[in-house]
Amino acid sequence: MNIPQPRLQGRTAIVTGAGGGIGRGIALALAAEGANVVIAVRRKVTGDETAELIAQERGTALAVKCDVSVRADVDSAVAAAVAAFGGLDIAVHNAINRESANPLALEDLTDAMWHAQASVAWDGTYFLAQAALPHLRRSARGCFVMLGSFFGRHGAAMNPAYSALKGGIRGFVKALAREWGPYQVTVNAIEPAAATEPTEIFFSQHPQLRAQFMRNFPMGRLGRPREDIGRAVVAICSDEFGFITAQSIQVDGGMYTAT
């Protein structure tokens, strides 16, 4: 009898913003497929919680404190992954500033608001890419994964900064995939639509919008952070998907089809 091996056995992944929500779901899914997971979080207590959940499933995880808008923190987190597990094969940049979920008119967007959000979503991407690349090049299957959003694809009326930040990820993915292709490192983005704590907070404050929003989903539900979004990240990092790069993949249950 052939027992299927975990698809990511022996690989090491770092996931930013994995102290809850989608990031935690991704960390759990990666660990369930055998990856050693480094959980890089601004508040270490949340990372420890994720690590404990992974440990309960006999997985391997390490939580490190990391503000992704600070280069030294990102460098340290990557160094910790390499020191603990001997290398780095998968880097997932998921962290965002929570302010990004707040509705905002474009005419009211200030420099301070932009920098608060962009320093996490974009500068964090840049710092992680620079820190991870030497290790991803040494890996037999280096993967760089970012989290985009359907907001970036369709442009959300009341989230101009978030739309811009996530739209920018699509351009970055295409360019970086062309740049890192010769190194055999794949670069992709997942564009999720998932039930998360910020989503629930938003709909608890705007209950009249929940039913309207849910009509957008042919499958009648939002994605689950681990089972739907996390497993999509596992797939894109697996050998089966090793020839897919430069893609922003919608994992949204068919919500946005004008692509």
Partner: protein
């Protein structure tokens, strides 16, 4: 070129061309002036324009600077019905692999380029002041396909495109339309001549299918005239790729 909100009017349209970083604004401003539009070029570049174009030098360092440039243009030409914008800092064209990219380079591309666009959109919204109008944001089409060494540039351009969509959704209710135009790089952006622009995966006759790369002062100016005219009154939030058919983006 007619006013964007009155298709029967023969009134001359006033256009503010607001461009930071490149000389593309001058070519476009000249082209729009040849269409009989009254044109002000708001730019941080020392470029020459035809005598019909009102040139206003400005810094894009703050929202206040851009708003002041709009006020100066309004004093000279009156209210604009059309605002055309592009922000592509010169450093953005310098092809650099991500591993060798300094934070200064990164920040001047991704943060400066997008903030310029935010400032311009905000100034346009205030300038239109409920009257409605047309905004066209443009940039090189390389953003749609990606290019090695230009990751931050492609990020910034795609962010500008998403920002334009967001503005289109938000401001449609006050009669403001916002569209994005991608321009074939060859000829129009000499700064990209040494960049590794990906070849079109087409084994037939050399691209583009139309046999030439569109000219910014002619073909693109005409398209912007169309998008800003009342005949395009139901078009907003869209992307038009003016590259002669090289990349038939899905």
């Amino acid at each position: 070129m007619q006013g964007p909100s009155d298709k029967t009017s023969s009134a001359v349209t006033t256009v503010f061309v607001v461009v930071s970083g490149t000389d593309a604004g001058a070519a476009l401003a000249n082209g729009l002036a040849r269409q009989r539009a009254r044109v002000a070029l708001l730019t941080d570049r020392a470029v020459e324009t035809e005598s019909e174009v009102t040139r206003i030098e400005t810094s894009f360092a703050s929202r206040e600077n851009v708003a002041a440039a709009f006020s100066a243009a309004r004093q000279q030409l009156g209210c604009a019905q059309v605002v055309v914008h592009s922000s592509t800092p010169q450093i953005a064209f310098t092809s650099t692999p991500i591993e060798g990219l300094s934070y200064r380079h990164w920040g001047e591309v991704v943060h400066v380029a997008v903030k310029d666009t935010i400032y311009c959109l905000q100034a346009a919204y205030e300038h239109f002041d409920g009257r409605g109008g047309s905004i066209v944001v443009f940039g090189p089409s390389v953003a749609l396909v990606g290019a090695p060494g230009l990751a931050p540039f492609c990020m910034a351009l795609e962010a500008q495109r998403s920002l334009a969509k967001s503005a289109a959704r938000q401001w449609g209710r006050v009669g403001i339309r916002v569209n994005w135009v991608a321009i074939g790089a060859e000829g129009n952006y000499p700064e990209l001549s040494s960049a590794a622009i990906p070849p079109v995966p087409e084994l037939g006759p050399p691209p583009p299918p139309l046999g030439r790369v569109p000219d910014i002062g002619d073909d693109v100016a005409d398209l912007i005239g169309f998008l800003s005219n009342d005949v395009a009154r139901a078009v907003t939030g869209t992307t038009v790729n003016v590259d002669g058919g090289s990349w038939m983006v899905p």
